[in-house]
Amino acid sequence: MKNRRVRLVDTTLRDGSHAVRHSFDTKQVAKIAKGLDKSGVEIIEISHGDGLGGSSFNYGFSKTDELKLIGAAAKEVKNGKVAVLLLPGIGTIADLKNAKKAGADVVRVATHVTEADVSAEHIYAAKELDMMAVGFLMMVHMAPVERIVEEALKMESYGADYINMADSSGYLLPEDVAARIKAVAEAVKIPVGFHAHNNMGMAVANSLAAVEAGATYVDATLRGLGAGSGNTQLEVLAGVLKRAGVDTGDVDFYGLMDVAAEAVDPIMQRPQIIDNGSFMLGYAGVYSSFLLHVYDAAKKYKLDPRDILVELGRRGMVGGQEDMIIDVAYQLSQKK
């Protein structure tokens, strides 16, 4: 691993949006984006937690229009690039054009791990807009390695600049991560990246395993702010990679710790820990951003959130199906 060049991708202002129920305002965003940029982070992702156009009953409404947030970040980011997430089926090319106007340079087009072909039109559009395009496969624990390789190759063929694999449920163990990264990195000609969730307490370890297996891009968030138990904690990962002798460019991990303390701690709504529900996400293989919606439904239907989570996992629900939480809660409440 020594001297390998790894690029850190911050998603505090996107995945972290789940943890604050999409309540970021322009001041908070400007402060965090400025701190990240000054500390040498190369890609800074910002949008609704469910990507462009995610503001809805289903995923929660954004307190501030995401285009204003993207604009506020773009004003502060001088060295790095501003990225957005787009899930086909939720966000559209029209949303992407608006995000580009607001200052985004990169789009990560995310699909369920077996559905890469729905990303084609959006990746083509991104290239036409002269944006960097990332093919982002979610829930990679739900498909065998050979299938993931097939899907990654599709995204490469559409023009993706790198492939990011997300352990959206925080389900994988380091060896599973390594196998996936290695297989995809060998099959494609573009770099690969990894996005972890900490539901089983494995985020930093899994990110390190990904780097060891050949990942060039690694997602992380300040204080681990993110869906479920959160993501890989950025300032910690930066320190760990430093100890491992990995070259992260000009990332200043003291600077990252300072932004985390000054700009993120004050706005956190709940401690970013592994509580019972968020551990069960990982254990049952459920999409991390379901967590707070599951807590709401459990309260409404007087159920144990763990029962809802296990049933969602059993049914094979995928990213974006937050509406099925109500369905599951209702069906379970009828059985009682």
Binding site: F57, N58, P88, A120, G319, Q321, D323, M324, I326, D327
Partner: protein, 297 residues
């Protein structure tokens, strides 16, 4: 006097073949031609049932088809409908039921607005998700108004064809617009999710509506929805509530499931069943009017 109106189908793929089975069952539609552009399984299937076929597309249908064909279902692509099928059917005075996203003519959700489209030459069937959810949006808006309506359609990966996959934006944008234009919401939003679970999941749709008139009692809204669900069952027998209507503040929520009739496609393809059933229901209504006016020309 003829008691059936002759119809044709352009596009002998999955949708077109399923339409054919539904037309066979219809009381006032007669399957008079299946048109494709190559010799295909679908063409062979139609021929096997004794249906006249052509592989010269819309031109073949007009040239060689029964001169009494008065309604044609277009199950090809948006581009084909815009460039060829739509204009040529119009020229020949044939009513087009457009199942592509082309939408040259107005959107049609039979239970909501078919009565207003009696004189249209080209009607568009919106999307599968639109057919499954807009009636519910309308059921709310007709009694309490709708400031905002949002739908989430989940379809099994196996029933999403390459056309849908290559054009996800077409689905979300068309459905959102029709939620407004037909459903009566001031603002519409549509989300689609593909789920690859095995065995494939039935099509499910969640509908959230923020009502405009907060004084209307929930009982009244609930009743309007329940009546609409029963009405829908008249042409989509597999349509049912998974989660009955609930109200939180000014938000009404309900979840519906659509089980297909498995005419040609498997039962989990409720998404394809409902758009086809709606198209046939629309054609039957139009045929009724044509028959009342003296039948075939």
């Amino acid at each position: 006097m003829a008691d059936k109106i002759k119809v044709g189908v352009i596009g002998p793929g999955n949708i077109g073949s399923d339409l054919m089975y539904k037309i066979f069952r219809s009381k006032n539609l007669e399957m008079a031609m299946m048109a494709g552009i190559v010799e295909s399984e679908g063409i062979k299937r139609a021929r096997g049932f004794g249906v006249p076929t052509t592989i010269e597309g819309v031109d073949g249908l007009i040239k060689d088809g029964d001169k009494d064909i008065r309604i044609v279902f277009d199950a090809t692509s948006a581009a084909a409908h815009l460039k060829f099928n739509g204009p040529k059917l119009k020229e020949n005075g044939i009513v087009a039921i457009d199942l592509t996203p082309a939408a040259i003519g107005p959107y049609c959700v039979p239970l909501v607005n078919l009565d207003k489209l009696a004189d249209e030459q080209d009607i568009n069937m919106v999307t599968c998700g639109g057919q499954a959810t807009i009636p519910i949006v309308h059921a709310v808006s007709r009694v309490a108004g709708a400031e905002y309506a949002e739908i989430i359609a989940c379809i099994s990966s196996k029933s999403a064809g390459p056309g849908t996959r290559a054009n996800m934006d077409e689905f979300t944008e068309t459905t959102s617009k029709a939620i407004e234009v037909v459903g009566g919401a001031e603002k519409g939003k549509a989300i689609i999710v593909l789920n690859p679970a095995e065995p494939p999941l039935m099509m499910t749709n969640t509908i959230h509506v923020r009502v405009k008139d907060k004084q209307v009692p929930f009982k009244k809204i609930e009743k309007s929805i329940l009546v609409m669900v029963e009405d829908l069952k008249s042409y989509v027998p597999g349509y049912q509530l998974r989660v009955p209507p609930t109200m939180e503040g000014d938000k009404v929520t309900t979840i519906v499931q659509v089980e297909g009739q498995a005419d040609f496609l498997p039962a989990y393809s409720g998404n394809l069943d409902i758009i086809n059933s709606a198209a046939v229901a629309a054609a039957e209504k139009i045929a009724e009017r044509m028959l009342a006016e003296g039948g075939n020309k």
